[in-house]
Subunit: 190 residues, 2 copies
DNA sequence: CGAAAATTTGATCGAAGTCAATCATTGTGG
DNA sequence: CCACAATGATTGACTTCGATCAAATTTTCG
């Protein structure tokens, strides 16, 4: 996948970028490809990068008392990073794992800050991504709080259509905060 | 409370602002005072303002099937708004209610955008507030997912010391996603 | 002071968790 | 290319935490 093409997609989907801005993103960013199962960021490492998933899928997860707990999914045309580590420059609590063969556009935090300073368009893009993330988080809180296991699962399917065909059920279960067994049971009743 | 003093506090706590920026905030902002129980924003209204609570306390809540559900608390030195409405310029789903006699510094969305464009300092402040909010949301998700009712309550007390002496238990219960009865029972066992 | 609101206490119920066993699918090495 | 581990998913029995419904008690405030 072409770098220029990916930048175009970001501009189209999130917030329009002027030409000069696109050029500088082009110069600063890198396109990476990873295979399914590869780890992009390890817990304990510093994550000073933001990744745009042009193709494929990923999740962030952490180990809670030895249990693997997914706390975020991202698929094509969305961003993923280790939020804590990125903002506060502390070691990441999460792993980021690719769930499929994926193509990513990468920018470092310092480049992002640079671009924010130079381009109001980029600043705006940045803000749009923030706002989207916040609203996703909020929606998730509502879902966790008021929905039964079944409703949570249906809501997830609505947010990420066909995720059940792309991702292990155990990841889905831990993401929506139920056990694998409960998920399995409710799926058989749909 | 003096407007200049409040702006100073924001600058101190969140992210430093240069003099010229402070002056313009001074010119654009308003200081408001409200009494306990007053409604700042009603559900259905457009909330195009961001409020800094210099003194007092507030909550956002919504009505879910006739039930009053708190989804956010804010006390002195923090910001509150109706996130959805503010960003997407849609009618607010939430009410914002003052829980105590309060003093607020108010800026409109358009003034905030203006200030962001003019002052990199302000842009940065804005970003810091975003990031804090996101991390709070994330922490809350973790709390809701892994903690028992008791642990959730203890975690809340840690985030907001003495909140149990400032806020009705029913609000606390709905905030942490348990019933008032459960909260009452677990409190008697502490 | 008295009514309304807030909180506590009690009895019962149900959704989802845990532990455990089985079944299905995937993928790797001989 | 098959065999058989290893991993993933389903099913079952039992338990538990917190919800619901109901009533009593305490606090607040006009």
């Amino acid at each position: 996948m072409e770098k220029a093409q990916i930048i175009e997609i970001v501009s189209d989907i999130y917030s329009p970028l002027n030409e000069e801005c696109k050029i500088q993103i082009y110069q600063k960013s890198k396109v990476l490809t990873f295979g399914k199962g590869e780890i992009l960021v390890k817990a304990g490492a510093y994550c000073d990068k933001s990744y745009f998933l042009a193709k494929g899928g990923a999740r962030t997860f952490y180990l809670k008392d030895g249990r693997d707990v997914t706390d975020w999914f991202a698929f094509e045309n969305s961003f993923i990073s280790s939020i804590n580590s990125f903002f506060y420059e502390v070691p990441s609590e999460n792993y980021i794992e690719l769930l499929e063969d994926s193509t990513l556009l990468v920018l470092s935090k310092s480049d992002i800050e640079d671009l924010c300073n130079k381009f109001h368009d980029f600043e705006k893009l940045n803000k749009v991504v923030f706002a989207k993330t916040m609203l996703q988080l909020q929606e998730r809180i509502v879902s966790m709080r008021f929905f039964t296991a079944k409703q949570k699962y249906i809501a997830l399917l609505k947010s990420f259509p066909k995720i059940d065909q792309r991702v292990q059920l155990s990841h889905i279960a831990s993401y929506i905060g139920i056990t694998l067994e409960t998920l399995s049971r409710l799926r058989s009743r749909i």
